[in-house]
Subunit: 335 residues, 2 copies
DNA sequence: TTGAAAGCGCTAACAG
DNA sequence: CTGTTAGCGCTTTCAA
């Protein structure tokens, strides 16, 4: 038999109103009766009925705002957000969204500042003006969750995203398994080393290569600025300059442009890329790419909403302030 | 504003009782009013409030029974079952469990037959006596979900488990990526080819090898009966008989015993195994094993409970009658 | 064939 | 400081 508040009320000889006060740490209850109630809760192993609670709270109004780019990767993130909101449909939550594409930081900051939402989930670069903007809100008790990219010292309750260094290490381990000989030359294609994200992947990768103790070295780190034309020209050049290249690690999200380069060249390399955008999928299936490391964009949307909800409604913080999403390995056979 | 039954009642000019009758296809409602109500539902885009429903149904009693072995793999499955039950804690569901270890089919059949539960999730071998036992219940409208291993023609509402053939293909693709030369000799370690599960993995593997068009062949399929001593002796023999072995695919769950063989030999092979039991974890981390293909036991427990619940409470069948759990690739770097 | 009303567990507003 | 009560959306029983 499930234990209800009514039962603890009876056992401890008080009314259900008082039980509620004790359960939620509300004021106006004599320490002595509080103890008595807590004892009863303990004894009967009470746990709340979420349906009853949801129903009673269904007239409260909450609002959550998500700040993120609008692109194919984040559209999967958005699916996670929508799924979380759908699960919470019994609650009166209004959702708004700020798309950052083509907006200056100043503009984004204005939009966030003006937005009156009770909670925010944001995927933004870590810069001082953004940090200040967020701090202004978190200082007033408005919860923020950063996702995909973390922002330091802004008062966020947690970060949800990929362990980038680890994803680089995994990429290296895959490469090492594919290079059977004890030697090998590798090209790394990165976005831009001024982004911490790309640097972390690259250093995870190179660290793991070194740790293997084998004669497998990186001949060059090509930076593409995640731009199609630049990817094309610079990768072409690098492959000509290093005809002994065995494997290529694409640490950035620019696998799209990279795919067409490899198709054109026709030559086969051992290739590890990231994510699962359409051309990556294609490349995995036709064998141009060997592995992709998937960072689960769905979870990156789903979790922050659930965390913010729990904070708003149950005043509960997540267990850790950094939540890493799975690094999954994808091969063509899996698609 | 969320739409409630009260609102459709007002719009269509009937009472909320009638709305409920229409929503659940209950009898005793004039076709004409039914139409009117349906129109209102459509127009206002009503969707039910699950909390309200859960509360109203919380006095109903349901019972679910799980039939499965008690071993390390299935203890992860059990975690999924418990997680699903925890999510449904607002409902009055009692759960019972039949462990199959060391029980004869006859005994298992007796226990299932005697069990009065409203719904069953079962992981059992596909045999005629079991099939008949299940049919006797499904014929009376009691829902069954098979998980991990399917049972044909027993009237189950669906199966939740791994796509074994696909897992074999994935294993082959990993092996092919590791064997850089165009040639290679492979040993397959299977449990017992009389089990469809093992056969399917092996044929997925060999089919994918052949499809590659490369000179990579299987020198022998060793059967271990998933027995420690047999695994040891037969694998040892096979490796001596085929000193040119490059890679080993362990299609069965007997990676535990297999691990100690490889440790003792000291020689390194390219190795693909299954699941993530303790010694597999160890083997992946120390480099004895390259990849493991993980079949997500948690989901294999979680999903069946959710499906049975949905059937019992919402009369809803799953979208498909076969639900494959993820085939995930694990490397040592990921642990 | 339909309406009215009670009650599921919980919260919140009000009364004492 | 504590008790009482209404009401959240839904199902179900009883009445009409």
């Amino acid at each position: 038999m499930k234990i209800s508040q009514k039962m603890i009320a009876e056992l401890s000889g008080v009314s259900r109103g008082t039980i509620d006060r004790v359960l939620h740490g509300k004021p106006n209850v004599k320490p002595e009766t509080r103890q008595r109630v807590l004892a009863a809760i303990e004894k009967l192993k009470y746990s709340p009925n979420t349906a009853g609670r949801a129903l009673a709270l269904s007239k409260r109004e909450y609002s959550i705002c998500a700040v993120l780019p609008d692109n194919p990767f984040f559209s999967d993130v958005m699916k996670g957000i929508q799924a979380a909101l759908a699960e919470l449909s019994d609650y009166n939550i209004s959702f708004s969204c700020i798309y950052t594409n083509g907006k200056s930081n100043a503009e984004i900051i204005r939009l966030i500042s003006e937005n009156e939402s009770n909670a925010f989930a944001v995927a933004l670069g870590d810069s001082d003006d953004i940090r200040e903007c967020i701090k202004a809100k978190t200082d007033r008790g408005i919860p923020f969750v950063t996702f995909n990219t973390d922002i330091k010292d802004c008062g966020r309750i947690c970060f949800v995203g990929q362990d980038l260094y680890k994803s680089g290490r995994i990429a290296a381990s895959l490469m090492l398994k594919m290079l059977r000989d004890d030697t090998g030359r590798i090209l790394i294609v990165s976005g831009n080393s001024k982004y911490k994200a790309h640097r972390e992947r690259v250093s995870g990768f190179t660290d793991a290569l070194k740790a293997s103790g084998r004669d497998i070295t990186v001949s060059e780190v090509v930076e593409t600025d995640d731009d199609k034309a630049l990817t094309y020209s610079r990768v072409m050049d690098a492959l000509k300059k290093h005809p002994d290249t065995d494997g290529i690690y694409v640490a950035s999200a620019s696998a799209e442009a990279f795919y067409s380069v490899l198709c054109e060249l026709g030559k086969r390399y051992r290739v590890v890329v990231n994510d699962l955008l359409p051309s990556v999928r294609e490349g995995l299936m036709d064998g141009t790419f060997d592995f992709s490391i998937f960072q689960n964009p769905f979870e990156q949307g789903y979790r922050p909403i659930k965390i913010l909800f729990n904070y708003l409604v149950n005043k509960r913080l997540p267990e850790t302030d950094i939540i890493y999403t799975d690094n999954t390995v994808i091969t063509g056979e899996m698609l």
